[in-house]
Symmetry: C2
Subunit: 299 residues, 2 copies
């Protein structure tokens, strides 16, 4: 068997981002944590944690962290069936997931709270553009992800969740100022649009879909789903927002669609590691249930 | 004078994260962009952009990008006064700012839209924990930041903005389940709390403030201000939320304070580069006005 006191030290340093915080979480001294990490690095002959602010795992370190999470999930299930194994209970296992920001802002949270309510698990969510959550899965940083990638990442299973309906919206004053003659290529090249991140291609894709050509769009960068909606209402720019996030503002006339009947449908998938982990299967069931309520059926 | 066609190429690659997207934004071919970047790197004898997905600036590259933004701001003001200099107008300048997530979710957006409304400028916001926005300023990635650091970063001016009032809240069901006998050290070491990121010390600080001792708190990681509020309401954990973000949920009984009359006040500062840049001064005025409306006076 592997020495899990060493592996737990690595996992805590990566989860907490520093040796000091990891030591606090493990009720050890920082030098004890440091010794354990060094010992494992010497045995393996490679660096597992890049010391910095924050400390981050190397590729080898990420594999070990993922293994610790997987073993933690199996232990929880075993002790659930055989409580005498650990009469004082186990520490909770932390599961790292990558979720795209708009899913977290709309349909994902009921899944997280339903799952956490009944399991001895903590969730550590990282937020990415939907095009980049799969990257986190591939690199081994997370066990599961909500992604726009249908094709399974190596070692993972991919389940369709449904589609997110996006609408191009702006404030009435913004439409009046920038689109007096409608949504033309000229108007779009002057009207600032919002984008979540460098990877966010939704605005560009919608423009291509509507106009049949790619345009250079002047963009404000705003990496927050809620701020994206708020900034659209405030007139900072136009942007692609989830239909459910802007339904009220549209009904109240604080926002209007740039074009009627021109949604962009984004299919989403749940990808998770193929190992047989009952706890992860239960999380998967909670995610599928929440997606059925919050996303539209895929054709 | 420096060759600004080369400098503009570097800035676009870093802003867009790839040579292809930079080429599209500059209406050049990717190989032309690549040649310009290489030429500048050869002249300087150092790497300016780390090629990857995304491409990121090296320290030297960041200095050049910041210079391009500063010159862009000065150009906008000059052409505003002497329109004949550029009869077709200039491209808009992009200003990169770092803002802590809770400021963006509460008081900051009116400043951004008031400023963008009247200036030929685009904003590229990055979101960090308040303890880390200053890091972005120090590394030269942004021109200005909302931070909890009072002491000026080298080369920057620091202005007090006011204080954000945070309340420790949870759902009534969560309080009933985890705090039946009140907010004790034992209850806190079992009740999951939320934290925005590894750097988020607000929950730990509040516990130290109330109990006079540091505790190891089981934590869910949730890097989104809106999801933080939603997850508190959904009962995933307790967390420190801005008072203004939870006022309605508290009034409606969907949340309750863990302890009455026990806020945590977080002073915030606006730090920005000391160069004389009139456009940045105008942004500063908009930020100060929004902070007067949205934050509480510092003692």
């Amino acid at each position: 068997m592997l020495d899990y006191s060493l592996l737990a030290a690595i996992a805590a340093v990566v989860r907490e981002g520093s040796f000091e915080r990891a030591a606090r979480a493990l009720h050890l001294s920082p030098s004890a944590v440091s010794q354990r990490v060094k010992l494992l690095e010497e045995r393996l002959g490679q660096v597992l944690v890049v010391r910095g602010s924050p400390c981050v795992a190397t590729e080898a370190g990420r594999h070990l962290c993922r293994h610790v999470e997987q073993v933690g999930m199996l232990e929880q299930d075993l002790v659930g069936a055989m409580p005498a194994l650990a009469p004082d209970g186990l520490g909770r296992v932390t599961l790292r997931l990558a979720v795209n920001a708009d899913s977290l802002a709309t349909w994902f949270l009921p899944a997280a709270s339903a799952f956490a309510d009944s399991e001895a698990a903590l969730l550590d969510l990282s937020i990415e553009d939907q095009a980049h959550t799969a990257e986190r899965l591939r690199s081994g940083e997370v066990l599961a992800a909500v992604t726009d990638l249908a094709e399974p990442v190596q070692g993972c299973r991919s389940l369709p969740l449904g589609a997110m309906r996006y609408l191009a919206t702006a404030s009435p004053a913004f439409v009046k100022r920038y689109f007096p003659a409608g949504v033309t290529a000229e108007a779009l090249s002057l009207a600032p649009c919002l984008r979540f991140s460098q990877q966010d291609r939704l605005q560009a894709r919608w423009v291509e879909q509507q106009l049949g050509q790619a345009l250079t769009l002047p963009t404000h960068g705003l990496p927050s789903s809620q701020a994206f909606v708020d900034a659209t209402v405030a007139g900072l720019g136009w942007g692609m927002n989830p239909a459910s996030s802007v339904a009220q503002a549209l009904a109240e006339g604080r926002l209007q669609p740039l074009l009627p009947q021109a949604p962009l449908m984004l299919p989403l998938y749940w990808q998770y590691t193929r190992q047989q982990l009952p706890m992860l299967e239960r999380l998967t069931q909670a995610v599928l249930a929440a997606a059925r309520d919050g996303l539209e059926a895929l054709d």
